[in-house]
Symmetry: D2
Subunit: 408 residues, 4 copies
Amino acid sequence: MNFEYSDKVKRLQAKISDFMDQYVFPNEKTYMEQISKENRFSTHPTIMEELKAKAKAEGLWNLFLPDSEDGAGLSNIEYAPLCELMGRSSIGPEVFNCAAPDTGNMEVLVRYGTDEHKEKWLKPLLNGEIRSCFSMTEPNVASSDATNIESSIIRDGDEYVINGTKWWSSGAGDPRCKIAIVMGKNDPNAEKHKQQSMILVPLDTPGVKIKRTLNVFGYDHAPHGHAEIEYNNVRVPASNMLLGEGRGFEIAQGRLGPGRIHHCMRTIGAAERALSILCERVQERIAFGKTLAEQGVIQEWIAEARMNIEQSRLLTLKAAYMMDTVGNKAAKTEIAMIKVVAPNVALQVIDHAIQALGAKGVSQDTPLAASWANIRTLRLADGPDEVHKRAIARQELKKYKKVAQGVQ
Amino acid sequence: MNFEYSDKVKRLQAKISDFMDQYVFPNEKTYMEQISKENRFSTHPTIMEELKAKAKAEGLWNLFLPDSEDGAGLSNIEYAPLCELMGRSSIGPEVFNCAAPDTGNMEVLVRYGTDEHKEKWLKPLLNGEIRSCFSMTEPNVASSDATNIESSIIRDGDEYVINGTKWWSSGAGDPRCKIAIVMGKNDPNAEKHKQQSMILVPLDTPGVKIKRTLNVFGYDHAPHGHAEIEYNNVRVPASNMLLGEGRGFEIAQGRLGPGRIHHCMRTIGAAERALSILCERVQERIAFGKTLAEQGVIQEWIAEARMNIEQSRLLTLKAAYMMDTVGNKAAKTEIAMIKVVAPNVALQVIDHAIQALGAKGVSQDTPLAASWANIRTLRLADGPDEVHKRAIARQELKKYKKVAQGVQ
Amino acid sequence: MNFEYSDKVKRLQAKISDFMDQYVFPNEKTYMEQISKENRFSTHPTIMEELKAKAKAEGLWNLFLPDSEDGAGLSNIEYAPLCELMGRSSIGPEVFNCAAPDTGNMEVLVRYGTDEHKEKWLKPLLNGEIRSCFSMTEPNVASSDATNIESSIIRDGDEYVINGTKWWSSGAGDPRCKIAIVMGKNDPNAEKHKQQSMILVPLDTPGVKIKRTLNVFGYDHAPHGHAEIEYNNVRVPASNMLLGEGRGFEIAQGRLGPGRIHHCMRTIGAAERALSILCERVQERIAFGKTLAEQGVIQEWIAEARMNIEQSRLLTLKAAYMMDTVGNKAAKTEIAMIKVVAPNVALQVIDHAIQALGAKGVSQDTPLAASWANIRTLRLADGPDEVHKRAIARQELKKYKKVAQGVQ
Amino acid sequence: MNFEYSDKVKRLQAKISDFMDQYVFPNEKTYMEQISKENRFSTHPTIMEELKAKAKAEGLWNLFLPDSEDGAGLSNIEYAPLCELMGRSSIGPEVFNCAAPDTGNMEVLVRYGTDEHKEKWLKPLLNGEIRSCFSMTEPNVASSDATNIESSIIRDGDEYVINGTKWWSSGAGDPRCKIAIVMGKNDPNAEKHKQQSMILVPLDTPGVKIKRTLNVFGYDHAPHGHAEIEYNNVRVPASNMLLGEGRGFEIAQGRLGPGRIHHCMRTIGAAERALSILCERVQERIAFGKTLAEQGVIQEWIAEARMNIEQSRLLTLKAAYMMDTVGNKAAKTEIAMIKVVAPNVALQVIDHAIQALGAKGVSQDTPLAASWANIRTLRLADGPDEVHKRAIARQELKKYKKVAQGVQ
């Protein structure tokens, strides 16, 4: 066993850390200011393009893509500590073209896309010229059980016809978002896990209507935006089908592994940032005759934050290691575990930081409140905690011989 | 011991409950829609005035004022269950002219105001014609220890001159807000708890500048608004001083008791509403072959919600009972206890409700996310949990003979 | 609403409190010493009989029995604060003839016993001359679901024949224990909740064999003892049947209400004692330059203990009030709630006290460790927490119209 | 980074695992039975010597000793997974001569002992012929702050004279225990961390009196025993001093690192065993129409157990890795973290297992209750959680530039 990062990783860590300190953190405020108050979903902050250009120039670009000629050839365990560093700022991942949901979508295209798909969609995504969304969750069913999904993708001649309403299609609020991966049923009579397909739908196709964007607590997340989209008799060429009819679940599984672990890495970064904000603040503020840093309860929060962050990072790295060595499928329990652990740890750290900062902590004057709201969604996205815990438990129970046949 | 509400209270409960069902809940959406997207702090939703007129006509008005000819003559324990009912909607309290911070400010004026103060400010507040704010917290010091407050209120001839920066002056974003109660130091050399005074400052006085409003987890709370206010050589007549120089702490103590318990009552109402939303939803949604209501983990959340809500309500009622019978000062430990307990209980219930609803729960489509953010501030407002727990502990330790002299 | 105890209760509180201070606490050590090291289940500490005589002489006897000529005529809400005081010592309840399981068994005999039962068993129990046990739980089935119970009680002429193995028949280790109330199936074909009966079995009946006693975290609880009992073709007169065949559930329900709430009251007493031990100790001990009482984390424990004890006491009193006013059945949800809440609160308080005392806290030098172990069993006895939470949740869900039919 | 165990470790894991299955688990009951009921501290179960002989014969002996010719030459990270396997049984560690406090004491002798010390005490300890104790904690002071320790070790000619009372000298109840390492003050005027020394005291020296043994919850832990020892003018040769006067702290630091991490490894083993007991049981038991394994709440417990055990194991391994690579001192924060994390994780898992098993779980019929009680002491031994959390927090705060000078 060896807990050291490789020299290559250490070099990249230093580079990204410098870049964050020099360019990203100082421009968070600029980014917020550049989002127009009135047309929040039609303006794109120019600072983002400037930062992207800088990152690209320094070779800090598309680092998320493992084993690909298009990426940096980093394994999951190599990418993890880098992704964590980016995750310390809400604008960090996009700067390095490593932001969700594009990363997941690009991976789908790399793995399952045809040459045509790659030329048309993957290339501009890799260049940071367009953005994409993932259109799976539906308002009318409990999407945590993906077999519930009801939108339809029906073959009609050389085309597929898509109907249904999706929401939480994150990123679709942005005018730069050009393409959606849509999940839906093509055969309700097939075996349960073979009913769903995934298909590429350009957002300018007739019948695609972005009805509104959803808020996360009070944040609209402009210009990104979590869209509710109506697909009304939307017709796309049959060649837009990914991998083949009925293979939606298969793609979802492949997509979600890396996607989930990237979220966890960023989440740990956000927790580290909250802890650093807390630690700096409590050494400045004085109440009842001593600094907050000298108060026992604050010290307990700090210790618990450090213990929990360390543990969740190690678990994330182990999951990444397993994805690299035995594959995403064999690592599914480890992925489920970090999917549950990381957001809960981070939410607790951020909540304590908010509490230590007082009213300032809930306001726009620090990244804490926005970070909390953002990470709170991760306890729901890609399945709520409870669904993952159920899966972990069932996996554990299987180890014992006397498994009752009826265990669900 | 008798755990029954009086007949009078039961009648009022029924009346308010009906009013909420008939007029308030159905108009929450209208209220939100009437807040202009572009001039959020200059428009006042007309629906609110309609609802206020209705409530006033039914005699459901100013119920919060205990022992006053201006109010309904309800004791704290009588008002508690009514306040809880109003608290189930974020727009509820204002409808009945029972909204913070006006209620606290009106109480200050009733108790400590001169006839002139009452005529000029209390009367229009009681009529719901104007609104008010409480300007105590400062951005530059840990206001949880109120001796830290640094704004100055200095006598100069027949006037007082006020200087300083305040924030979280809630309600000051609203153009209908006309008067502030400002706390500041008039004598830095006086005994520690005699340095601070409170004074009335009309918001249109020269030198009063509302710099901006603060967000709460992305919510701007328009048109109410949590304002940062600069007081720059603001001059008011000496007669605007409340109670006398150096008596700010005394007023704060008197004001905070009822203010805190009202918040707790409303908070319990919000928790009840979240639980009802959860219970309705989980009986509709199906995942993995059964309704969410049949899942053991969901049932555990419901049971814990019910157990914790019941207990926090009983503790709130006991605190109210003590305020009524032995006075706010003697009830201070009980008030501190519910101040800590109620928001924490409600936050947990709401968080579980959000989790049960999935992504919908964090959005604008239910009151849950906004309610959570709102109540999260109550763990900080009027002193963070930790300050109150410290006070409770010190009170407990005093019961034992061997109290070490150095206990802080 | 009125949160005051009646004058009668206050007088009894003072009397019992004095008695505890003067006689019970100072003799806890004597009691432990009088339990022989070698024949732990055959010696009965003489100090107990001396204390019982004193309590009886002062009229502090059988206070648990509500509405009975044999008891003190106290309602549940009147008895609650008295029971709490007794519960502060592990030997307290027996001193006042208010110890489990005798209290529950006496109530069963008062309610459902024939004149003969009363003369033969109730009278000596009321006099504190004999003790009794309740033989329900079985080692081979999940007794939390009482329909699982498998022992048989079969009519054979003028007798019933009892077969089965019971355990956790608490008190049966004591040679003074003369009578058991045994639950078992008399008709496996009856409707599910009509299969079980309860019958009186004198422990000296042939075929009754006490196989061993069970430990609770290392404690053997001698001379009381939690017995495993084999009933092997045990024959008792048919007149020993309580209430009639198939009415075991009915009796269990009636018995468990008061029994559960008494446990809760005592548990709150135990929590109060732990808190007092903690508070005294932390003012004496010094670490890192200040007393433990000055450490913020310790203060947080104290505050949480006070807040949680207050709330659990209020909930217990409300449940008692409901039992008095609307009956045990209508109070079932409230009883279930305190059944869950009180032990969990007390365990946390005691655990914190242990932590504050250091290694002394886990030893025989304070009542803390024994109290913790004892109360830990209450999260299991009469149904585990989870079963009660499930019941509370189902009751809550019933309030909503759209109750899915399949909710279990 | 590499999360794989080496082949050497995997081979030893398999060997120890087989040994545990074949010899240790099946003999736990025999061991308990062989402890006499009446002379619990004078009988030594013969089965233990049989098992030791077997383990020694298989080369599974003294594996704990890192980098030593006397041990197996295993690094901390190599020993960790082996120690975990042994820790699954309370009698496991002694079987392999890897039990506390002997392991810590042997390490002290290896590092700091003279040739004479080694010949006389280390050799028979390494052979498993005698046992030893560590006499540091005192009843009269808060020993969590070791500067409080008051026993005296005063030079008098060629001897040292030891006076003081110690308790929790674990192992001293056993007649095989021959030697104590005693900590005490030799110079109260020296610099604070130079006042304490450690010295070897044979237990048969005149003036050494074992007053009694202490219980842990109700367990006496015979024949081991946690002794209270009076040292009354005990005289030992000056050559018994370890390392030199005033170097007690230095030795304590050196001793505690490995000692703490070994406890953590065993604790994780105990948690794994509890989880396996839980998983087996819940698949057998049926309540309310389905197995407990199908109940959502039970599944949540299992998932949380798995997530927490995985994380605490990784943190333990990382601490071991750091001890191996940068040394015990540089690893002190990591050691403090696992010292806090591992027992808390295990206690939660065991508590859930107890809850799932019902009353059986608190009894002598499973290892759960004894394991819980044992591990509960680890939240206190070698410093309570709170002291370690304080240290972790202070270490964290040091990372920030603006460290207030007064931070304690």
